[in-house]
Amino acid sequence: MVYCSPWLTEQSFFKEDFTPAHADKFLFNLAPGIAMFVALITGAAIPWGGTLHLFGTDYALQIADLNIGILYISGVVSIGVYGIMLGGWASNNKFALLGAIRASSQMISYEIGMGIAIIAIVMMSGSLSLDEIVRQQAGFHWNIFYQPIGFLIFITCAFAECNRTPFDLPECEQELVGGYHTEYSSMKLGFFMFSEYVNMFISSALMASLYFGGYNMPFIDQLGLPQNVLTLLGTAFLFAKIFFFIFFFMWIRWTIPRFRYDQLMHLGWKVLMPLAIVNMLLTGGAILLKNGL
């Protein structure tokens, strides 16, 4: 949408903060906070780089190396639905409520395909830790070469989860007044908008980490650079990948028009979910064959 550009998000600090008279004040204020909070804490489990060695201490460029990192992220992402649902519900406006139902059913539907697509990755790497998954992709063994279908499912679901263009039915700014955030204004609307942008960044980081080797660069080990330089270069390379995916998000936005709602549900439940299950079964079969039955 036009008014959710980061530039205008800063503008929204200065706009009138309006709360409808019949809205549930507490939930109305809580919902954008949940949306923003949940969007931000997903970044904790993502490995932004290798290890920096400074003054005799090792600093891992990851806030928390959870051994259940993927589980944590998919759990936190599903909490994000609460922000949207509560926002629409607390507005006490039927259009906001309808928009919230539309948005949350979309997000719940696409989480399934996304989760099953990730399971294939977890089966391959044998670990739920994101750092471990990234490290296993070192030396150009990127998961995209082994899981192309899984990546396709993941990126489609990521678009739907972030409410980006082919799946931006929760907003529909061209034909509707707005979705779940109809009654929101000022920085609360800004929080909803900005959490979408943060989600876009995080899902780009996830795509880079899960499928495109994260902070790994092919053939960089052969240059013989010191450890710290390698780590910083890796972080820069990860961000280059992230920026590419953000560009891809925008690129798709310039290109593909919006799906109809029944098409959205059809794609999510009847195409992506069976395809993800088949992909998971194929991965399992391949692992069995490789390990000699």
């Binding site: 396709l152 690129w251 798709i252 310039w254 290109t255 593909i256």
Partner: protein, 177 residues
């Protein structure tokens, strides 16, 4: 009759597998978008960059002075009659003794107003003018915040003596040599 050769006959055949997958179509679409991304832009960021106008462009009017700097307009009213949008109004006045350097003939326009919101820039006023007093130029009527500021009086229409407006840039007006 075909207007262009670009029309295609639509068939309702079953989609093939590659069409059902959508992915080839999406890839083609992305390619087209990327091609346009690197193409020259069709737009200008207006106040900073101005588009070049065609030589026949008809923009904001000017009321010309003669070589001595006297106003050429005699308030005959032919432009107002010719104007299909009825945008021009004027009040005529008689030239007093001692004003010969200001007005070329005995009668002049005391008040001459063009409503730029009504004007359609057709150029009929300039064709109607027997004194070669009014011309449309290659300048743009600027945007304003209030409607009344779009009514241009003589202060905006008559060319300043020291800053003559060159109307030859527009080429010859139609119907004249």
């Amino acid at each position: 009759m075909l207007l262009t050769n670009r029309s295609k006959v639509v068939s309702k055949k079953e989609m093939t597998l590659s069409e059902k997958l959508y992915l080839p179509a999406i890839a083609t679409g992305l390619g087209i978008t990327l091609k346009h991304f690197f193409q020259k832009k069709a737009t200008f960021s207006y106040p900073e960059v101005q588009r070049e106008f065609a030589p026949v462009f008809r923009g904001r009017h000017v009321l010309k002075r003669d070589d001595q700097g006297a106003e050429r307009c005699t308030a005959c009213g032919l432009c107002a009659v010719a104007c299909p949008a009825e945008a021009i109004t004027m009040i005529a006045a008689e030239r007093k003794r001692g004003e010969e350097h200001l007005y070329r003939e005995e009668k002049y326009a005391e008040k001459y107003e063009i409503n730029m919101l009504r004007c359609i820039f057709c150029g009929l006023c300039e064709e109607a003018c027997p004194k070669e007093a009014i011309f449309l130029t290659d300048r743009i009527t600027t945007a304003e915040y209030h409607r009344d500021t779009f009514i241009y009086g003589k202060d905006k229409l008559v060319e300043p003596i020291d800053q003559r407006v060159d109307v030859s840039l527009r080429g010859k007006p139609s119907g004249r040599d």
